[in-house]
Amino acid sequence: MSCDTCKELITDSLAGSLSQSASEELEQHLVECTACREQADEIRSLWQNLGLLPVGEPGPAARARFYEMLEAYQHGLAQARRPVRDRFNQWLSSWWPRQPVWQAGLAAVCLIAGLGGGYLIQTREQEDPKLAQMSEEIRNMRQLVTLSLLQQQSASERLKGVNWSYRLEVPDNEVLSALLHTMNSDANVGVRLAAVDALYKFSDSTMVRRALRQSLTSQNSPMVQIGLIDMLANFKDPQTTVVFREVLKNENLDPNVRQRLERHVPRVE
């Protein structure tokens, strides 16, 4: 083996891509050739020690910066596309039939096509594991974005985080807890209020409803309390009335909150 070939093999051995036989040949040459042996030792030791160099991590703002940029870019694209969409709308309206009977028929056909398409896509997802894996990854990514934004310093970032939660069909328990935590303890009233609204989407869960009721008793902002009261009143369940009565007992209650509560609580005769 020539010393030039030896150098190439040494470099291959660094990457761990040397076959067994080539590796043996290399070591044989290194035994016989001191110059190459010295070079090999020096290079291998340096390669090893480079692993000592500390690893940097990107700062917390990196993610937020990227998502802001992406959103702005998408917004820009949407604006740029608008003229085409307007033209398309015009063309579409020329197809919409005048008679109600035909309108209903067309609507029914669209509905069936939509349901069928959705079913097909779903079964395709189940059949194609790669597609399913990617969808899973996108779901995970949205959860991650929501959580990451919720812990930012700036209130407007946290507000974005609350808004991101709307994109989640089925949130993780971690995201739900984070939203509840934000509703109860965020320093900014606007963010707390936004969290209350966002939780409405998930209010079928008894856990969420219980947390909403509990939050009412511990909130100190009248605005957020009123937001909670309006939402809880929609549910019309008996536990809500119990909590409302409890809160009414507080003498220091803000008059606006009191008024809102009394609207929903039947007077005790």
Binding site: L52, A62, M141, Q143, Q151, H181
Partner: protein, 210 residues
């Protein structure tokens, strides 16, 4: 209540368990979707690659802030030039080509002073933990310092090929595609870069001793 932070960690761990090695075929598929107009999908590629990209830039430039800017720049350029992406080629190859260009543009814009390695900026940097006595720990710190300075002393192209091969988990063939040369040339460059690194290292070590 540290709920939000621990929750984020939990999701990251689940991702690590489920999707270990980046499927290069999937990256290509994802980028094709971005190219075809589903711009939001870029977020998945960001989550997969932004950390490695950041570390690549830091090792090249020894400057955290510039590196963060460069990462954003790269993803912006990916968006801007998304229609030029060829699905037949690997996404990471294309990404690193863009990264190199972004870095070169930045170097040209800046004044031609070479930034010194940030010796005192250990913010967020973790030393791989090693057992050892106090003396061993001190000498490890010295070693790291010497290595860093020796790396910074290399010319840009040599440092770049070294970082790509040693740290970015790229095979010589892929590095060849990024640098537009064949794998054999890459190996020669890596070998020469290591020899020069060694020379600088011993010079600096000698200075220290005298």
């Amino acid at each position: 209540m540290p709920t939000v932070r621990t929750a984020t960690v939990a999701i990251l761990e689940r991702r690590g368990r489920g999707i270990e090695r980046v499927e290069t075929a999937q990256d290509s598929l994802l980028m094709s979707r971005v190219r075809d107009g589903d711009v939001g999908t870029l977020a998945v590629l960001f989550e997969r690659h932004h950390r490695a990209l950041f570390q690549f830039f830091v090792r090249l430039t020894a400057n955290r802030e510039a590196s963060e800017d460069l990462v954003q720049d790269v993803f912006f350029r990916i968006l801007k030039y998304r229609e030029t992406y060829q699905p037949a080629s690997q996404f990471t190859t294309w990404m690193y080509q863009i990264a190199r260009n972004a870095h070169l543009d930045q170097v040209r814009k800046r004044k031609p002073e070479i930034p010194l390695p940030e010796e005192n900026d250990e913010r967020g940097w973790e030393l791989p933990s090693r057992e050892g006595t106090a003396e061993q720990k001190v000498s490890q710190a010295e070693e790291v310092s010497l290595l860093r300075r020796a790396l910074a002393a290399l010319p840009d192209e040599k440092r770049e090929v070294l970082v790509l091969s040693r740290f970015q988990q790229l095979k010589y063939e892929e590095i060849g595609k990024i640098l537009r040369c064949d794998a054999r040339t890459v190996k020669v460059r890596v070998f020469r870069a290591l020899r020069e690194l060694s020379r600088h290292y011993f010079e600096l070590a000698g200075e220290k001793a005298s």
